[in-house]
Amino acid sequence: MSSHSAEALTSDATFLGMSWRKTMMWVFIITDGLLFAGFLASYGFARAAAPEWPDAHEVFHLWFISLMTFVLISSSATMATAVAAAKRGDHATVKKMILATIVGGTVFLGMQAVEWNALFAQSVTLSSNPWGVAAFGNYFFTITGFHGTHVLSGVIILAVVWLKARSGRANAEGVEMAGLYWHFVDLVWVFVFTLFYLI
C-alpha cells in the first residue's frame, strides 16, 4: 500500500499483548458479564427475601437439564478445538469443529424450548405460577430467556465465521474472538444452572 504504511496507524502499543480488537472483545465480555451479574444478584436478593421457593426437583426434569448442560459444555470443547486448529492453520478441522459447535448450540436451544413448553403446560409463566411465588417465574424466564438470546447470537456469529471459513476468508483471530464469546456464554450457563437448578 502507500509509502506511509510503515508508520502504521496503530503504534506497537498493545494491552497485555493483545490487539485492539481482542481488547475490545474482552471489555465487551466483561460488561455483558456484569449485565448477568446484575440479573443474578437481583435473583439472589429476591430469593433470599422470599418466604418460600418452589422445590427444583419437583419443577424441573433435572436429568434433561443435565443433558442440556452437557451438550453446551461439549460445544465449548469443539470450539476450543476449532480455535487451536485455526492457530495451526488447519482449515478443514476449523470448518468441521465450528459446524459441530453450531449444532451443539442449536440443540441446546431446542432443548430449552422443550423445557419451557413443559413449564407452560404446568401453567408456570413469566408472571404467575401454581405456587404463588411470582418471583420464581419472573426471574427464571427472564434470565434463561436472556441467556438463550445470547446463545442464539453466538450461533449466528459462528454461522458467519463458518461461511467465511468456507470461502477461505476467516482468520485465526476472528475464530478466536468468536470462541471467546462462546466460552463466555457457556460460563454464564454454569452459573444459571447452579443457581436455578442445583440450589
Binding site: 500500500m1 502507500s2 496507524l9 503504534s11 449485565l35 427472564t142
Partner: protein, 600 residues
C-alpha cells in the same frame, strides 16, 4: 483481511483525505467518522441540551418562588401545563425529572465525556483516530434519537416521566401511578437505554484507543491526566452501566409484561389493589445506585482531569503529585463502587450496613481531597497566567471543596436521616455534578477552543462570563443548603403550605432565583463570545498557551488524520515546565533528549 492490512488501509485513507482528496459535506460534517468532528458534534449538542435543561430549571425556579402568582403569558405557550395561569403539579414533577435527566445524561455526559473524550483522546495519545471510527459515529447517532425521544415525551398523553431522574418504583413501574408514569415513563426508559448503548460504544472505543493506539514512547505514566481521568471514568462507566441495563430491563418487564420485580404485595394505586406481589422497590434502589453513584464519578473525574490539565500550563510548573493523582483517581474509582448505599440511609437499612456505607463514603473523601490539594500545590509558587481558562479551573477546585464539604454531612448516616431529600442534597450535588462539571467543561472549552476552531476566545468577555457564573452559583446553591437545613424537602411542588418554613420562604427562594437570573446573564456573555469569535478571523497558532502535551503539536485545527505523514514520537512526561536550562520554560513531549541539550 489481516489486522495489519486493515490498519494500513485505514491509515492510507486517512492520509489520502488529509492530503486534499476532500470528502463531501455530509461525510465530513454530518456522518463523519473523524473523532474531532464527532467530538465537536457532541460539544454543540451538549451546549444546546444545556440550554434546554436551563430553561426547565427556570420554570422550576419560577414555581418555587411564586407558587401563588398566575403567569398568563405561560398559559399562552403551554395551554395544558399552565391551565388557568398556574403550573399543574404533574408538570412540575415532569420538569424536575427531565431537568435532571437532560442535565446529567445529555449535557454533562455528552459535553465532558463524549465531547472532550472524543476530541482529545486520539490527539493527546498521538493516534490518528479512535480504534473504531465507525462505532464512534454510530455512538453519536444513537444519542440523537435518545434526545429526540426524551424531548418528544413532553408531548405525549400524561406528559413526560415524573418519577425523578432516579425513576424509583412503584411510581415508575405502574403505568397508572401518575400521569407521567404512562407513555412518558416508557419513552424515558427507551431514551436512557439508547444513551447507555451509545455510552458503551464510546467507552469501548476509549479504553481500546488508550490501551492500544498510543504513540511510540507514550507509556501509561506519560499520559496527560485528562487521558487518565477519561480512561478511569470509561472503565467505571463500563462496569456500572450493565447492572443499570439489567435494572431497566426488569422495570420494562414490570411495566408491560405483568412481572413483579419491583412491586410488593398489597399495593394500592389510585384506590385500587394491584394484582402484583413478591417484589421489592428497594431492589431498584440498589441496582440504580450501584450505577448511579459511580456514574457521578464518571462525570466528575474527567472534569477534575481537565481542570488539572488546564491549571498546569498556566501555573508554569509541573503537575504536583502526578503519580499520586493517578492513584487517587484509581482509588476513587474503586471506592465509588462500594458506597451506593449512602443514597439509601432512610430506606430502612440495617444500621450496621449503614455504618459500612458511611465509612466507605468518608474514605472516598481522602483521595478526593488529595487531588484537590495537588491542584492547589501546583499553583503554589508558579508563575500564574490568569487566563479565563485558568480562572475557571481554579473555580472548579473551589466548587469541589464546597461540594465535598456538604458530602461529609450527607455521608454520615445520622446527619443524613435529617438531610436526606431536602434542598441540602440538591445544593450538594449541584456544586459537584452541576458546578465542578460545568466549570470543568468551560475551563476545557476556553483552553482547547483554539485547537478546535483555530481561534482564541475573547478574554474580556470570558472574564465577565467567569464572574457572572461563579458568584451567582454560590448564591444559588449555597442558599439551597440553608433552605434544606431549615427543612425544605426537594421535589415538592408548593412549599408555602408548611408553616415551619414561613420564616425562610419569604426570602430564600427569591434570593436563589435572583442569583439564577444573574447566571443566565453570565451565559449570554459566553454566547456572545462564541458568536464574535466564530465571526472573527483565525488567530490561533498551534500552541497558543505554550503547553507541552501532544495535541499542541498538531495544527490548529488539526487536519483529518491529525498528524500529516509523520506520527509523533514521545520522549518525555506530559508536564515539563519551568526548565531553566532551555530557552523556553517548557519542553514539549515530542522533543527528543538531544535537542534539549543542544538548546541549553
Amino acid at each position: 483481511m489481516s489486522e495489519e492490512a486493515m490498519a494500513t488501509s485505514n491509515e492510507a485513507e486517512l492520509l489520502e483525505t488529509s492530503e486534499g482528496h476532500e470528502l463531501g459535506f455530509i461525510r465530513k460534517y454530518v456522518f463523519s467518522t473523524d473523532h474531532k468532528v464527532i467530538g465537536i458534534q457532541y460539544w454543540f449538542t451538549a451546549g444546546v441540551m444545556g440550554l434546554v435543561g436551563a430553561l426547565l430549571a427556570g420554570l422550576i425556579r419560577m414555581q418555587l418562588t411564586w407558587p401563588t402568582t398566575p403567569f398568563p403569558f405561560l398559559e399562552k405557550i403551554f395551554p395544558v401545563a399552565y391551565a388557568g395561569g398556574f403550573m399543574s403539579p404533574e408538570f412540575y414533577t415532569s420538569l424536575v425529572t427531565m431537568h435532571g435527566t437532560i442535565m446529567i445524561f445529555f449535557f454533562v455526559s455528552l459535553g465532558l465525556v463524549a465531547g472532550f473524550g472524543n476530541y482529545l483522546i486520539p490527539l493527546m495519545v498521538g493516534a490518528r483516530d479512535m480504534a473504531f471510527p465507525a462505532l464512534n459515529m454510530l455512538s453519536y447517532w444513537t444519542v440523537v434519537p435518545a434526545i429526540l425521544i426524551a424531548g418528544a415525551s413532553f408531548f405525549v398523553e400524561g406528559g413526560a416521566a415524573a418519577s425523578g431522574w432516579t425513576a424509583y418504583p412503584p411510581l415508575s413501574a405502574v403505568p397508572s401511578a401518575s400521569p407521567g408514569s404512562g407513555t412518558g415513563q416508557t419513552l424515558w426508559l427507551i431514551s436512557v437505554a439508547l444513551f447507555i448503548v451509545s455510552f458503551t460504544m464510546g467507552g469501548l472505543n476509549y479504553v481500546t484507543t488508550i490501551f492500544n493506539l498510543r504513540a511510540k514512547g507514550m507509556s501509561l505514566m506519560r499520559m496527560p491526566l485528562t487521558i487518565w481521568s477519561l480512561l478511569i471514568a470509561s472503565i467505571i462507566g463500563l462496569l456500572a452501566f450493565p447492572p443499570l441495563t439489567a435494572a431497566a430491563i426488569l422495570l420494562l418487564l414490570d411495566r408491560h409484561f405483568g412481572t413483579s420485580f419491583y412491586l410488593p404485595e398489597g399495593l394500592y394505586i389510585a384506590g385500587e389493589l394491584i394484582p402484583n406481589g413478591g417484589g421489592s422497590p428497594l431492589l431498584w434502589q440498589h441496582l440504580f445506585w450501584f450505577l448511579g453513584h459511580p456514574e457521578v464519578y464518571v462525570l466528575i473525574l474527567p472534569a477534575l482531569g481537565i481542570t488539572f490539565e488546564v491549571l498546569v500550563p498556566f501555573a508554569r510548573r509541573p503537575a504536583f503529585g502526578y503519580r499520586t493523582t493517578v492513584w487517587c483517581l484509581v482509588a476513587i474509582a474503586g471506592l465509588s463502587m462500594v458506597v451506593w448505599g449512602h443514597h439509601m440511609f432512610t430506606s430502612g437499612m440495617n444500621p450496621l450496613v449503614g455504618e459500612f456505607f458511611s465509612i466507605g463514603t468518608l474514605l472516598i473523601t481522602i483521595p478526593s481531597t488529595v487531588i484537590g490539594v495537588n491542584m492547589i500545590a501546583t499553583l503554589w509558587g508558579g508563575k500564574l497566567r490568569l487566563t479565563t481558562a485558568a480562572m475557571f479551573a481554579i473555580g472548579t477546585i473551589c466548587f469541589f471543596g464546597v461540594g465535598g464539604f456538604g458530602g461529609l454531612f450527607l455521608g454520615n448516616a445520622a446527619a443524613d436521616i435529617q438531610l436526606h431529600d431536602t434542598a441540602f442534597v440538591v445544593g450538594h450535588f449541584h456544586f459537584m455534578i452541576g458546578g465542578v462539571t460545568f466549570l470543568g467543561l468551560l475551563a476545557g472549552s476556553y483552553y482547547w477552543f483554539p485547537k478546535m476552531f483555530g481561534r482564541v476566545l475573547n478574554e474580556t468577555l470570558g472574564k465577565l462570563h467567569f464572574w457572572l457564573t461563579v458568584v451567582p452559583f454560590y448564591g444559588v446553591f449555597g442558599t439551597m443548603h440553608f433552605y434544606g437545613l431549615a427543612g425544605a424537602p426537594r421535589r415538592y411542588y408548593n412549599l408555602t403550605q408548611y408553616g415551619y418554613l414561613d420564616s425562610v420562604n419569604g426570602w430564600m427562594p427569591l434570593v436563589t432565583t435572583s442569583f439564577a437570573a444573574a447566571m443566565v446573564v453570565g451565559q449570554c456573555f459566553f454566547l456572545l463570545n462564541l458568536t464574535k469569535t466564530f465571526l472573527g478571523k483565525r488567530n490561533a497558532d498551534n500552541n497558543p498557551w505554550e503547553a507541552t502535551t501532544l495535541e499542541w503539536a498538531a495544527a490548529s485545527p488539526p487536519p483529518h488524520g491529525n498528524w500529516g505523514p509523520e506520527a509523533p514520537v514521545v520522549h518525555r512526561g506530559p508536564y515539563e515546565y519551568g526548565n531553566s536550562d532551555a530557552d523556553e520554560d517548557y519542553v514539549h513531549q515530542c522533543v527528543p533528549p538531544e535537542r534539549v541539550i543542544a538548546l541549553s
